[in-house]
Symmetry: C2
Subunit: 150 residues, 2 copies
DNA sequence: TATTGTTATACTCTATAACTATA
DNA sequence: TATAGTTATAGAGTATAACAATA
């Protein structure tokens, strides 16, 4: 339980710190940053709405809201899918990519300062390893958007 | 950065899981659980408002809101401080303590399932150690409520 | 019938600024 | 002058349920 409580507190403190940086430097929230970063991580910068929602543990309606905000800001566009006419594909725009590039250096700095300041290399390796395996396993759990209503 | 992203994702997934459990079993949010747990952690179950706000990285007005909710629910009371008449002290009620006791077993179960399922003892120890030191250092940073307005 | 996405809606929460009272 | 706490307010975000369109 000590590990759990510490993990939650560290996560929250870190989120507060990066949230402020992202707001100041890019005018976006952490969730919006996650959406952009998730898209940027794809080879072609495009994903289906539902796939984004699943990765970020969001309801689909919540993602629709955020996608609308990001589209208004010109950071992504939505277009119909070619293979499945029910689907909408979200595509990162050049501005969206620019914003990420512009915001990332300071973002990395904040993370370094807040999280890694006093950690040595082995600590970081161990943390990355442990927490990376955790994430992979947790991702395997049934996705959020697939949950049946009660 | 891999460690950072994984840490954030694990934290968010975990928070979603426990939040649902707390809502279902106790009718409280995670923040409210944190407030109650913070008080229960004190020998006499009492703390000043500002001290609670600092520990939980909250604005004071945000804590006022949550304290009002919890007081309405009968889980804590607020009373004037004896030594400093500016201060308000928050005190856990018996119902508040009962709720924690009632909610905690299932809470521990969720954490065990979601977080520790496939981790062996050394993994847990290492994680607790790393993340515990991190928290201690991050706590040493200047508190949230002390930030001067721009 | 199941899945994808949006909309309408209602609610929770958070922070900023202004204010009161005490140190 | 600084600190403790509250209030008023406004905004951001979230989810549930109902819906339309497609598989």
């Amino acid at each position: 339980m000590a590990a759990y409580f510490a993990l939650m507190e560290v996560g929250n403190l870190l989120q507060h710190a990066v949230e402020q940086q992202l707001r100041d430097d890019g005018g976006i929230s952490y969730v919006q940053f996650q959406i952009l970063a998730t898209l940027a991580d794809e080879p072609d910068g495009r994903l289906r709405m539902t796939d984004v929602a699943d990765r970020l543990v969001h309801s689909r309606s919540g993602l629709t809201y955020q996608a609308t905000q990001l589209q208004k800001a010109g950071l992504l566009i939505r277009e119909p899918s070619a293979d499945d006419e029910r689907s909408t594909v979200v595509v990162l725009t050049p501005s969206g990519r620019d914003l990420l590039v512009r915001v990332l250096p300071a973002h990395v700095d904040v993370v370094r300062q807040v999280l890694f300041e006093d950690m040595d290399r082995t600590d970081v390796t161990v943390l990355a390893d442990t927490v990376g395996r955790l994430r992979d396993r947790m991702r395997a759990a049934p996705p959020r958007s697939a949950r049946r209503p009660r």
